[in-house]
Every structure is written in C-alpha cells, then in structure tokens.
Symmetry: D2
C-alpha cells in the first residue's frame, strides 16, 4: 500500500509549489543568518513515536463511530505505522500497549520491524481496566490498592511489560497509573501514595539498567475526586524516590485549566527529570485531540523550552521521548496522526528559528517587547516549506495527508480488513 | 424485597436516637419561630425522579466494573425504583431513556407503575449514539447534522419518545443534544445552531399542550471543541424561539470551572424558564458523581434560590422537575441514589430554614455579614433529623442506606439476577 | 513627534526586506486565486479604537511601575493616539472614560481631533469607583444598588456620559457594570438583575437614536461571588429588554476558563446582537495583556467568525465596534498598543484568506480534516507582509514598534512630560 | 474597648441557648463515644495568627472603600488583634509585614505584646512593590531579577525581616515571591528559577537555627504568563535545595481551578514539608475572601488531612503555622476576621469528630459509601456549640461577631481614629 514510488509520483503535482515556497524561505532565513538546510536536517532527524492504540477510531464514554479498515492485529498495526513513516519519515517507532499488543511470535515481529525500518520505543502497562480471567479487579486501584494481592498482580503485569520490552528492544517502560478515588474519604491519600511508591520500586528493580521508567501524571479521570499521581510534583517526588532511571512523562492533556505547561517542561529539564511527552490536543481536559489543533502557540512554547535546554551546555544531556497519545473519534486515525506529527515538526522548526543570542540579550536587559517579538517572529514564520522539505529528503510525501488521500489508502484498508474491523484501544 | 414491614423492623434500632435528635431540633427551631413539623411536611412532599440509566453500574471510557444484580429489563428497573421509594418515600417517579427503555407492553407497564405507586416523569431521547440497524449515523451530529435525512431521523426518534411519553403519562420530554465538533472549522457554528432550532421546532410541534420540552446545555464532552448548546444562554434562546412549553434544564455537572450555578438558577426563575434539574456531583466536569458529594454548599445555595423563588408572589408559579442524572462507577448504584436523594432533601431542608424576612432586611440594608450569616446559620444546622422524620412519616427507612444494607438487598438482587447482569446505560 | 516624513525615513532601511516578502506573498496568494492588494485594502480600512486609559502604565492591586512620559491631560492622550495612528494608520479613534476624560473645552477638543484625523468612538462610564465629592458610594453597587438614590446617581452619571458623547460625536455608550457580591446572601440575585434592567432602561431612553449602548459582561472581579452581568446570556437578555440599540460587548478577558469565545461571537452575530469587542490578552482571567500575546489561534478563530458573518448575505448588516481594553504593567504602553493592533490586523488578514467556498463544502460533507486544514492553512500563512503593506499604504511605518523605538519617542515624551507624569487609569 | 467584663455581660443573653445546644451535643457525642469537653479543649488550644495587613479595608485594582477606624500604627494593629483575641481566645499572634510594620521601639512593642498576651508569629517580606527611595525597582523581579544589584537589595530586605523577627521572637520568615513574567519570552524560565534558588539560599543562611522559612507558591497574579514559584512542586523543590528549615506554605487561594488542595496538604505532610497555611476564601482565584465562605467542605477536608496526620505516629511531629491572609473589601475587617477564625475552628472541630478507626477500616476494605458517610457524618454535625464553648472557656464571647456589634466597637474605633484613617495593606 503506497510504495515509495507511488509517493514520489503523488508528490509530482505538488513539487513546483513546494520549490517556490522553499526557495523563498531559504532566502528569507539566509538574510537572518539561518541556513534552511541545517534546520531541515534537524527536522529529518526528529522522530515521534506512534501509539499502537491510536491507529483505530477512538471513542468517548458516549459512543464510538469506527470507520473501517482498522488494524486487527499487532502486525497490521506495524503495517500502519510503516505506512505513516513512509509518508512522513518522522514516525519510525511504535509505543505498544500491554495486553492489547502482546507479541505472539517475537522473532517474526522483530523481522517485520526490521524490514519496516521501525523500532519499539516503549511499553505501556494497563492497570486501568480488568482483563478477562484476571484474578483480581482494579476497581479500587492497582499499584495503590489496599490489598497486597492486587498490588502484586499489578506489579507483575508491569514486570511482564518490562520483559516484553527487553525482548523487543524497547528502552522505555511507561506507567500511567489511573488509580484514585471518586469520593472524599474513599482513599487514605497518604497511604495510597506510599503503597504506590513501593509498588513502583518493585517494578523499577526489574528494569534493566538501560531502560527508563516514565511516570505519567494526570489530575482527574477516570477518577473524579483524587488521583494518586495528579501533578508533576508527585511524579517528580516518585522519581526521586526511585532513582535516576525514573523520569517524568508530560501528557499535554493532563493538566488543570490554565496550566503553564512549558514552564513545567523547563522545570523538569532543570532537574534532569523530563523523560518524555505524550502529545495531543486539549481544550478542556484529556480530550485526546490532534496535537496542535487547539493551542498551537503553547506547542511552540513547549518546543522553545526543549530547544533552549538542548542547546544549554550547562545541562546534562538527556534524551526526551516524543510520543503521541491520542484517541480519534471523528477523523480517520491515520490522517489524524499525520496531522499531529506535522504540527509537532512545525513547532519544532519554529523553535529552531528563534534567535537565541538576541533573546538572551533581551531577557537579560528586561526588554520585554523585544524578547516577546523574537519568539513571535519565529512563531509567525510559515515554516511549512521546511517541514515539507524534510519529508521530501526522507523520501516521504510533500503533503502526507494529501498523498494519503490521493493514494486512497483508507479505501484499500477497508477492502483488505473489512468495514467492521476493530482495533484495540479506547 | 424489603417489604414495608421489614423496613419498619429495621428502623427499630435507630428509632431512639432519631427521637432524641428530632426532639432537640424541634425545640431548637421552635425557639427561632420555625415549626419542625411544617418543614417535615414539605420534605415529605418533595420528590426526585430516578433515571432508569443510573440503576446499573456506570463506567468511564477507561473501564466499567459491574457489581452484579443489575436490572435486566424495564420491569426490573421499575422494581428497583419502587424499592428506593419504599426506602425514602421521595423517589416516586422514573426518567426513561429511549431506546434503552422502550416499553414492550404498555398496559402491563402502567399496571406495574400503578401498583408500585410510581409514575414516569420524563422521556429522554438518545441521539448521541448509533443504534443497531439505524439507517444514518450520528457521528457528525443529529438535530444539527448537515444532512436532512439524518436530522429527520433524529427528529423522528424524538417524536417517538414524545409518543411513548404520551402513552406513559410523562409530562416532560428532555433533549440532551450531544452535537458539536472536535476541531475548529469542522462545523459552521451559526448554521449548526439554526438547523438545531428548526429541528427542535419540529419536535416541539409534536408535543401535546401539557408536555414540556426541557433543553439541556453542556459545554463539552463528547465533543471537545464546540457543543451546539453549550450554555444556559443558548438553551434560553432556543426556548424563546420555540415557545412557552420549552424550558431550560440545568445539569449540575455541565458548567465550565467556577461557574456560579445558583445565579443561573435565579436568572432562569426570573425569566420563567427554569424547567428542571439533573442533579449530580461534579468536581472537574460531567463527573456524574453522587449529588452533594463534592460541593454541598453550592447545592444548598441552589435550593436557596429555588425556595426563594417559590415564595416570591411576583413570580408566576412554575413547576421545576427534579431529576437525578448520574453514573456510578465504584459504588452500589442503589446506595448512591439513596445518598443523592438524601443530600438533595438536606439541601432543601436547609433552604427552608433560612429566615427570609431577616435576609431581605439585611440585603436591603447591605449588611453583608448579617446576610451571609443568615444563610450560614441554615447551612450549618444539622437537618438530618428532619429528613429522617420525613422518611419515617412516608413509611420509609430512618436511614435508607443503613436499612438497605441491613436488608442485604444487593445480595438478594445478585441471587435473583445474577452476578453478570448488565443494565443499559453508560 | 515623529512626523510623517520621519516615519518615511525610518521606513527606508526596512523597505527592501518588505518588498521581498510582499512580492512573494502576492504571488503565493495569486496562485490560490487571492489578490493580495484586495486584502491589503481591507486591512487599510480596518480601524481599532484606542482606550484613553491604556496610554499610561497600568497596575495590579500589588503595585504599579510607571515609566514616565505618560499623558497628563486629555489633549496629551489625543496626541498619543494621533501618534499611534500615524504609525499604523489603523487607530483613528479613541474610547473616552468618564470622569477621567471629561472634556473641558469641547470646541477646542473637536478642533484637535479634526486636525489629528481622529474621532471619539465611544464613551465609557465608571461606576466601579467612588469619585471625590460623590454624594453616594458605590461600595454596594451602582445601577443595581438597593438604594434608589445611589441608582439615580449612577444613572445620572451614565446620562452625562451620553451627553458628552453627543457633544463629541461618539456613537457608542459602553456600560461595564462592576456590580456584584462577594458572599452568598449578600445580594438578592433576582432583584439585583431587575434593578439593573430598570436602571439601564433609564439610560437607554436618554440616548439619541443613532447611539448604541454596549453592555459588557464579566464573570468575576472586582466581586468574587457573583456579578450582576456575568455572561453573554445575561447581557443578551438585557439587550432584549432594552431594545435594538442595545448590543452585547465581548471583552476577551471576561470569560471562565476554557470558554469557546468564537462560538459566542457567532451566536451573537446570529442574533444580531454583537455590538463590539474589547480586545486584550488573557491567560488566567481579566489579565489585560497585549492582544494576541497568549492565544493567537483563538484570536484568529474569532476573526474567522466575524469575516464569515460579514460575508453572509442572510445576516442583516451590523457594525461591530473594535476596541482595545488593556492595562500595561511592564511594557511601554504605546509599544503595547502597537503590538495589539498588529495582532488584530494579522488575525483579520488570516481570516480574510480562508477559502470560504471550500470550507463550506467541507463542512457540508463533514470532511473534518479538510475543514480544519482550510482554517489552518490561513492561520499558518505568514501575513505580516500584508499588514506591513497596509501600514505603508496608509502612510505609516512598516514596523510601528521598530520605528517608534528608532524615533526615540518615549525618550522625547519623558523629556516633555517628565519622568513622573501619571496618566489616569487603573 | 470591650473589656473582659463587658464581654461576659454581653454573653449573658446568649448563654441559655448555648447551654441548651451544648448539652444536647455533649450527649449526642457521648452516645458515639466522643467526649465533648476533650474536643473543646483542643479547640481552646488552637490558635490562628492574624495578619497585620488584614485589619484595614482591602481593595481590588478597581477601588477601595474604607469604612473608618482603621489602625494607623503598629500599636493600633496590636490593639485590634488583642481585641479579636479577647473575643475568641483563638488569635493570640500576629503576622507582620515589612516594611509596613517596621517596629520603631522594639522594647515598647515587646511590652505591649506581653501585656496583650500576644506574640509575633511570622515576618513577611515585601518585594512585590517598590518602596519610596528604594534604589532599585522590582518591576522586573526581585529575588529572580537578572541584575545582581536588584537581587542583593531583595535579599538584604529579607535578611532585615529575619533580623526584625529575631528581635520580636518570630519563628517564621515567610517569602511570597511575586516574581514572574507577563509574556512568553520575557523571562528565561530556568535561569529565573536558578537565581531564585540562590537568592533564597542567601536568606536561608541568615536565619537562626530555630527559624523556619515558609515558601509560598501562587500560579498567577500579579504576573499573568508565568510565576517563578507557581505550584507546590516548585516550592517543595526549593525546600529540598535549601534544607530542613525550609517548608512549603499553602495559601488556599493560590491554586488553579479544581485543584484538590487537601491532597496537596496530605502530600506535604507525607514529605515532612508542610510549614503552614494562609487561610482565606476563594471561588475564582486569589479572591482573599473570608475563610470558609465559599467552600466549607473543602476546608473541612483540609483539616481532615491535618488531624489525620497529627494522629499518625509514623510521621515526625512537625508544627504547622495557621495564618489568615485575606483582604476585605465590603465587610468590616474585624468582623471578617472573627468569621474566618470561626470557620477554621468549625472545620477543625468537625475533623476531630471523624471516627478514624472506622474510617481506616472502611478504607482498607474499599467500602466507599461507608468511608464517605463517616466523613459526611462529621461534616454535617452542627459543631457550633463546641466552638462557642471553646470561646467561653477562653473567656471570650459566645458569638464574637454578635458581641462585637453589640459592643459597638467599630463606632468607637471611628471615634478614636477617625473616619478617614487608613491602614497599610493592599
């Protein structure tokens, strides 16, 4: 489905317009002392992991409207990500979710991954739902449960994820702990924290030394009074408790209204504890929309912190895992993922354009307007030609969504997999 | 299950304590010129409708943890509400949801209702999900859909609900319109409103002259960019467009953070457009928790507005429909409903205790502290003996939850209906 | 200070870069069937009123840090706005605030305005503070006060504003009613509304037939429990009560967290009740920051609604007053206003670029991704050359802030008016 | 003004009613195994510090409406607090604010404090405003300023506060750092944090070993893009950096919408880093209203965490400083403070009534309804007789506000100090 050649062919009608725009931008940037090709190279190198669970149509508690052609197996999920990666050259890894993605035949899987040029970036455990035949229920929590047996089950599940990760070469084990309470009094808040810390320590010990545990935070949902890990401060304190391989995961949708997320990003970089991101779009809460669809300026400001930190010699180098975590209700999930990656690359490109020397000077001299204008100049620049050029240089589509549509991919997927195929996920 | 006699028996051990507390409160109130029996009588008369869809365990998009014994049919739902009403004497009607509660045998149903002393208060349509074999999908909206055929289907569904309502004696048709959009641009905001207004008009015309249409508003979820009816202003404008039988429905969980809901209640009473309530508890959004579990003071202030308006001779008399709308994840749903009704009765009792003459005087003279203290005095009073006495006088349990537990109702329900019975709902 | 000739001279070094960018954009748009000069013409015609009270440094309740050179009189305020208008050609009117801007010599003022090419767009009343020698205090409200005498004083003050407006040719009388309460019980919510409606009616009657009353809403501050006019629904209901000359004013900072403001804009246009805007930037509440500094995408979406409505033949034509309302703590207020106008023009330019025919088609066929991408395409386009060209054609500066700085305006103002001059305002 | 004897006299008419209610409650509690006198004793021992800056009428940025009789000097402030303490026996200390309360004659002050039975609990520095003749401005920050000289000035000011504290026996030095930024880019977020940490370290070193530094956090205002210490996580990280004498201060109004504050309280107790509280009421933000006026249930839940932690043997004992921080616009400030202390005592009393053994059992067995009902039982109990009895036993008024009014205190203060006396503060 959509060979490299087909993509090149579908690029043809877009090429002239692209050249026109890219050439202009190249000259514009050159006048400012920026080499466009250098920026493009950094974009080519940038990769965002695709979550296996976002390849099918998502839903809300009120309904789900699948559109057909969803991947029915882990193999088909890998095919879908390979397709995305052929289109944008920026999605060369997959986040797996256990038990939805338990590998049946590891060597075959490794083979498929190699052939597709993909890797597994992270394993994600699931203790927010009960699986069939599971001895104990997570109704009242998993890693924080009052019952030792339930906690042990949840710890064991996480350790299994770590094991799968070792087999598949994943270097990250992500814990999103949904545990919490719906009513005051239901949970002893301090003891729940303590039990969680100890459970996490058991999992931490099972990790190989080159694996990182990412600890996600979320203020509410699925519980609506308290969540055991509601904010970055709690994640951070748990990381301190566990050790240097524990890092904080920032999901853009997991914040209270009006939170300045980019400041949290800067703070965690300062502490050496920013492990990674779950990108998505959010207007009200954990809306799980397309990244960049609601607050593109915020996304840019987040990347501004990341680029600033990456260029800061005083900070220890530390990898940040870039992952998408979304759930697409009314869009074709593959189109949505292509849009998300494009928004992320755009934000990154803009952050790379910021004149940091001038910004530093303006900040030091408290020239507020100048400092702000330096950021705005980068933000207002139309960087789409840089992103398209990065796609092109990676052998992808100048406009992934347009090419995906022109190539009639969804229609083919429906034909192959059926109108009623359902992917695992929310 | 739990006969009146059993309830009386189970009341026995609680009676002495109740008398002790009720007598004290009676004297305390008498000293302030309030006759406790009068208040109790008003509590006895107060009724809250139970939603058929809250009788089973609810869920979030992340999981559902049923506890067994859930009603498997409309008949069993009526049995459950009858039980609640036997326990608290304050739940003598049911809100039905179509298509989950389509009556198969209307005369038999009417018979069951009569024998149980129950009525159907309202019909609730569902155009937020696709039903099997439905010709058109609501993926992109129902009453606001761009396609005439989809709108017609949704209108027709609502008219059917109205018809069922006529058969069952329901005087209310409730419309919660989930329609909205997830991304800027997806929906033309003005046209979507206009289509909705016209669709509602078609339904309105089908209503008999003694039926009221309640129009609910909700700012977000299941859509996360815009909702066609996001706020009371929009509901109100639609009511004006439709006619006097259209009224606004206030769901406590359907507001943006920090909304002063009691002021909206007062506003709508002022306009003669407050049709009813969906009670529930909310800390973050449409959390659908037990009423009164998170913001008991707000609940009291809402009832303060209601009682104030009810006693205002200058306002036209207008019925307000009191309904619960919740979804119980981690509690026994019947216990949760008993708690909710108790919180509502408590808030009402407190509002009845407010010294309105003194409050009026304090307000007119801008004695801020005095006005506030008058409300606080009512709020801080422990009115539970009044509520318990109302239960008792209605033949119910002094403590419905305690008696429900002592009577081992859930255990019996599981035995009768099975551990895996699943009720319709979210 | 900064003659037209000086501005032209200061434009010189920027001209080559501008031509380079404008030519590119002209061709790019031509390829999409859009004539850049047409867009520029619409930008040239677009005007935003400058509030007299934003010309000095603003403050918070915690402190104020003036920077010197602030206008000491109404005449100096007009000079400042004239300067802004010379720089950007887009600020040809002033919003006055009474009593801060009571004109002493009306004919002289009219003369100054004529010579400066400026008009007075609106009068703004102030009943949120007590003025020296005022007989009654507004501590407990003005138009909603329980005391007739206080209400009369506030009505009279508003009528005086209307009179000043008539003398100065202002066509708008703006009412921001700060009235509200800090504690439950303090104010009788329904009666406060009724008194307000009646007070407004008295003012409304005093307006000439070509004047519009704009009714602003605000959810909180300076009162923190309730505000008499907290939301658009309340403003709208008051407009209905008063008559067609009453219209709703939308201040971008006056909404609860996560409000979809562009939908309110569309709604009010639909009802024919959108009277105008107070533009500013807001991240948390009524932050009164530079317009566009925090949520540029939201600003674009608002203009998208405005342009869409303006091009809708089915809507009655209706003027919308564009005004800034801000308060600048840490910036030079004149630079801040130049930035604000530039952001507004940019958002308008982008909204003009939206391909509405294609968008209509995508919306009608529920092609979510396509509809969204059409908006994003406009938003992501770098329209700064269009705005600069509009400035240029109006005889202004290619970059107003840069030219303002190069011309050393603030330094001159400080020299003329002193380091400690203080403007009226917050 | 209001001698002990006068208070006793004014108590007389209230005594009978009090006895009636207290006796009932004593018996009610006895039936549940709780000794009312024990609870009363704990209430008698409980003390809340009064901030010197809340003794005058506060204001918003829009206006201030003083009511007369405000304290004109530190001595008069101490008189006011002494009066409050005579009335409620629960306010035996004062928080001072420098430079507003710089002591002129330390021995005389100590003498006055001793005679009044008062102490100074804490010193509060002020670097959020410029003081006359201050060499450097805090317009762009104080402890985080980019300029060394400005930081030094701010450090020096804090060290002076520490010195005053040593002289006056204060054991707490409170730092509320208003520093932040209004626009993206204005401040380098990581460097601003680092400078702050180092500045705090300089102050920390100047503290004697028995003094605690409390570090307050606040998400926004007076800056509206970022605040250097926006959340508990940041305060906590700074405390870790500084040492064990640094502790987090929780101000109830300093949180984003929907924050679960009681969980933060529990978390900080768990970490041994909860240093104290600034109590006030908040509906929207830092509203600085009467404590308990808007969210009484939240206040109870906070005390529930405090009592739970205090009774937890596994936690190291650690003093928590209870302070009020409010600003009263429309109330008599002294009445407001009496109300605040009463709400705090009420919340504490309710928390003391919680049956912790039963709660523990319910939590361990995940009996959600039971656990919730145990908290609700305490919350719904009318504990006012316990608080009144505590007042009585301390020699105070049965109803402080009523006695304050009956004693015509404000009228006397106005007579003594004048109608136009103005206290320092906001």
């Amino acid at each position: 489905m959509l060979t490299d050649q087909q993509i090149q062919d579908l690029n043809q009608p877009l090429l002239d317009d692209h050249q026109f725009r890219y050439q202009f931008l190249t000259e514009l940037l050159a006048r400012r002392g920026v080499e466009a090709p250098d920026v493009v190279q950094q974009l080519v190198a940038f990769q965002v992991a695709i979550p296996s669970w976002a390849l099918g149509t998502g839903g809300t508690r009120f309904g789900r409207y699948p559109l057909g052609g969803e991947p029915r197996s882990l193999e088909e999920k890998i095919q879908d990500v390979a397709l995305l990666n052929r289109l944008n050259g920026s999605s060369n890894s997959i986040s797996l979710h256990i038990p939805w993605d338990i590998p049946q035949d590891v060597p075959a899987l490794q083979q498929q991954l190699r052939e597709s040029g993909l890797t597994i970036d992270s394993m994600n455990s699931n203790t927010f739902q009960d699986q069939k035949n599971q001895p104990y229920s997570y109704k009242f929590g998993s890693l924080s449960n009052t019952e030792t047996a339930v906690r042990q089950q949840a710890i064991q599940h996480n350790i299994e994820c770590v094991e799968y990760g070792k087999q598949l070469g994943a270097k990250i084990h992500t814990v999103w702990l949904a545990d919490g309470s719906n009513f005051p009094g239901q949970q002893h808040l301090r003891r729940a924290y303590q039990r969680t810390a100890e459970s996490l320590a058991s999992i931490y010990e099972a990790m190989p030394s080159d694996m990182t545990m990412l600890i996600e935070y979320k203020p509410y949902e699925p519980h609506f009074y308290s969540t055991v890990i509601p904010d970055w401060g709690t994640s951070y304190s748990l990381c301190q408790y566990l050790g240097q391989q524990a890092q904080v995961l920032v999901d853009l949708g997991h914040h209270l209204p009006n939170t300045n997320i980019e400041q949290i990003v800067g703070r965690l970089k300062h502490f050496g504890r920013l492990g990674g991101f779950h990108f998505n779009g959010s207007m009200y809460g954990d809306d799980d929309l397309t990244t960049g669809s609601t607050k593109p300026f915020q996304l840019f400001l987040i990347f501004n912190e990341l680029v600033d930190a990456a260029q800061d010699q005083t900070l220890a180098e530390a990898a940040v895992a870039y992952m998408i975590d979304a759930s697409h209700n009314t869009k074709d999930p593959l189109e949505d993922l292509l849009q998300s990656v494009e928004s992320i690359l755009g934000a990154y490109a803009k952050a790379l354009l910021v004149d940091r020397a001038a910004l530093h000077e303006a900040q030091e001299s408290n020239d507020v307007v100048r400092a702000e204008e330096l950021l705005r100049d980068a933000f207002l620049t139309d960087v789409r030609p840089l992103v398209a050029e990065a796609y092109r240089q990676a052998g992808g589509a100048l406009s992934p969504v347009a090419v995906y549509r022109a190539g009639q991919v969804r229609e083919q997927l429906i034909q192959q997999r059926g109108k009623l195929s359902l992917s695992t996920g929310l």
